[in-house]
Symmetry: C2
Subunit: 354 residues, 2 copies
C-alpha cells in the first residue's frame, strides 16, 4: 500500500513537494529513480545508492522476466531481498521494452507477443501476466501493460494503442481487485495529440488508480511538445495522485516537467552517459575523455559532494577511462546520479522555501 501527501504547492506553477509512503519507506517528491534494469543499478552497489541519497529505484519487468525470471526472484524472497535493496522499488510493465523490440513484437488484443532480445525465444505478455510477474517481484509500485507508440505516430495508430491501453488498464484493475500485492498505477498514453492525451487521461483516471505513469513521451518528440502534453494532462489528471513521467530525462526536461506537477522521474541517462565517459553538471554533459582534462587536477564538479568529486580528479578519472578501468564508470555513475539527486533536492527545497 502507498500513501501520497502533498506538503506544499508552488505559487508559481503546479510544482509541488510531496511525500510518498510505501511499505519500504518514504520517497520525498519530486524525486528521481535510478534505473536498475536487471536488479542492479549498473556499476552501483546498494550502499553506493544509499550514499548518493537514492530513495527508490526502478527495475524493468521485461529484463527481469527473461533473466533470472520471476520464479527465482520469488524464491529469493522478492526483488528487495534478491538485490539487497531495502527501500522502495517501482517496476515498469515491460510495455516500453516490448515496444522497443519493434519488428520483434506483435501487439494483439489480448496482449503482446515478442521474441527475447537475448535468444529469440517467444513470449506473450498479457495484462494479467505482467501483474503476476511484478507480484512475484514484490515491487512496491507496479505498472499495467500498456502500448507505447513511436514518434511521430499516425493518429489512427496512436488512437488504437490508446484504446488497447485503456482496455488493458481495466483488465489490470479487475485482476488486482481484492488481492494483496504491489500498488498498481495506471498509465496514460496518447502520443503527442492533445485530444488523445486528454481522452487517455480521462479514461485511465476514470478507472481510478492510486497513482499514474505518463508514458510515450521522451521518445523523440521536441521538448516543447512534451511540455505541451504535460500542460494538457495537468488540467485533466487529479492533483492529489502521484504522477510518474516515465523514462524522462535530461535535467532541463525534469526541471520543466516539475512545473506541471510531475512527482517521479526515471531515466538511464545518468548511468548510461557515465559508462560512456560523460559527466553531468548544470552546463550539460561533458566527456571526461577530453584532452583538456589530461592535467586537470580538480574534481569533476567542485560544487558536488559525491564520493567521486570529494576524492578524485578529472585527470585521474580521464586516465581510468582511457585505460578502460571499471572504476571510471563507477565514479562517473556515482557523480551523475548524485547530480540528479541534488537537482531534485534543490527543486524540493526551492518549493518549500517559496
Amino acid at each position: 500500500m502507498i500513501k501520497f501527501e502533498i506538503l506544499k504547492t508552488s505559487k508559481k506553477s503546479k510544482a509541488r513537494v510531496g511525500r510518498l509512503t510505501t511499505d519500504h519507506g518514504i520517497v520525498e517528491t519530486p524525486n528521481f529513480m535510478p534505473v536498475g534494469t536487471l536488479g542492479t543499478v549498473k556499476t552501483m552497489s546498494p550502499r553506493d545508492l544509499n550514499e548518493i541519497g537514492a530513495q527508490i529505484v526502478l527495475s524493468n519487468t521485461y529484463h527481469l522476466f527473461l533473466r533470472p525470471g520471476p520464479d527465482i526472484i520469488r524464491e529469493a524472497g522478492g526483488l528487495h531481498k534478491f538485490m539487497n535493496w531495502e527501500k522502495p522499488i517501482l517496476t515498469d510493465s515491460g510495455g516500453f521494452q516490448v515496444y522497443s523490440l519493434a519488428e520483434r513484437r506483435k501487439v494483439k488484443e489480448d496482449g503482446v507477443e515478442f521474441a527475447s532480445h537475448i535468444d529469440g525465444t517467444k513470449h506473450f505478455f498479457t495484462p494479467e501476466k505482467v501483474i503476476d510477474i511484478q507480484t512475484a517481484f514484490g515491487s512496491d509500485i507496479m505498472m499495467p501493460l500498456d502500448e507505447c507508440v513511436p514518434f511521430p505516430c499516425d493518429k489512427k495508430v496512436a488512437q488504437d494503442a490508446l484504446v488497447r491501453t485503456t482496455a488493458w488498464a481495466k483488465r489490470s484493475k479487475s485482476y488486482v481487485a481484492g488481492k494483496e500485492g504491489p500498488t498498481l498505477f495506471g498509465i496514460v498514453q496518447g502520443s503527442t495529440y492533445p485530444d488523445l492525451r486528454k481522452r487517455s487521461a480521462e479514461e485511465i483516471c476514470g478507472i481510478d488508480f492510486p497513482g499514474y505513469g505518463i508514458g510515450g513521451l521522451s521518445v523523440g518528440e521536441p521538448q516543447e511538445e512534451m511540455f505541451g502534453m504535460l500542460d494538457v494532462l495537468s488540467q485533466v489528471m487529479p492533483e492529489d495522485k502521484p504522477k510518474h513521467l516515465m523514462g524522462v530525462g535530461f535535467a532541463s526536461d525534469i526541471l520543466g516537467a516539475v512545473d506541471f506537477g510531475i512527482d517521479l522521474f526515471d531515466c538511464v541517462i545518468p548511468t548510461r552517459l557515465a559508462r560512456h565517459g560523460s559527466f553531468l553538471t548544470l552546463e550539460g554533459k561533458t566527456s571526461i575523455r577530453n584532452a583538456r582534462f589530461e592535467r586537470d587536477f580538480t574534481p569533476i564538479d567542485p560544487e558536488c559532494d559525491c564520493y567521486a568529486c570529494k576524492n578524485f580528479t578529472r585527470a585521474y578519472i580521464r586516465h581510468l577511462f582511457w585505460a578502460r578501468e571499471i572504476l571510471s564508470m563507477q565514479l562517473l555513475t556515482i557523480h551523475n546520479l548524485r547530480f540528479f539527486m541534488r537537482l531534485l533536492e534543490k527543486v524540493r527545497k526551492d518549493i518549500l522555501a517559496e
Copy 2:
C-alpha cells in the same frame, strides 16, 4: 625510508611475522598486495581496499609509464595522491612486463628496448630510467630493472640474464646513492637452477639492499621447483630483510612460501579470476556461472566477512554475472581479495599463537 622488524619466527619453519614501517604506514607481514596495475585495483575503490584490509598495493611501472605517464603522476602530487590511496605502494620495475612482451622487446647491455603493447611506440628502459619513473610516482618501495627469463630456460640464457640483473642492480644502487626517494629493493633471479639462484642471491644481497624481490618464479614451473628454489634462497639470503616473492600466487603457493620466510606477495589471480566469474575458498576456485548456483540463496562463502558475502547470495551474483553486470565483478573481487587478506591474517595469527 622503511624499517623492518621481525616480531616472531615460527618454531616449525622459517616463517615469521614482521612489521614493515613505511612513510605511508605499517604493513604487517606476511602480507598480500592487491595489484593496481594502472593506478587502480581493478573494480575496487580505495575505500573498498581499506574495507577488505589491504595494507599495501602494488602498481606496475611499465603500465603507468605508458599511461598516463610519469609526468602527469608527478604533477598530480605522486601516485598516492593521484589514485587517492594513502597507504604504502610498491612499484615493480617493469622488467617482468617487458619480459612478457616476448618478441616485442630486445635486451641490451645497457637496458631493454621494447614496443608498447598499446600503440607499438618504441621505448628504452635503463636501470636509471626506471628509478626516475618510480621516483616520479613517489612509491614507498621501488624495484630495480631486472631480466626475467621464461620456464624452461637454457642455463646459458639464465646465467646471462643473471649477470645482467646483477650489473643493473649495481648501477641502480649507485644511482640512488645519496638521493631522497623510494626505498630500492634488489631482485634475485636465476631461473630454476639451484646454483644460479644461489649465485644471484649472493651477488644481489652482496650489494646490500634493505629488502629483496624474488623474481622469475611462478612463470610456469611446477610448485615443487618453486619451493626448491625458495629453500635454496632461504639458506643464502639475509633473514633480517623483507622478501617479496613477486607475482605469486595461488593460496597453496603462498602458504608454502611463507614457510621459507617470504614476507610479501602480489598476484593478479584474485582480481582476474573475479572478473572472469570465479570465487576463491579454501577448496580452490569455483565458477559462479555454474547452474547449481541458480537457486542457491546462500553467500559465496558463509565463513567470510566481506561485503559480498554479508549481503548477497550466489544466485544473485550468478544472475549478475550472466547478465554481464559490473557489480558481479566488483562483488567477486571484494570477496577474492578479502579471502587472501584473511588467509594472510590467519598465517600471522597462527605464527604468533605458536
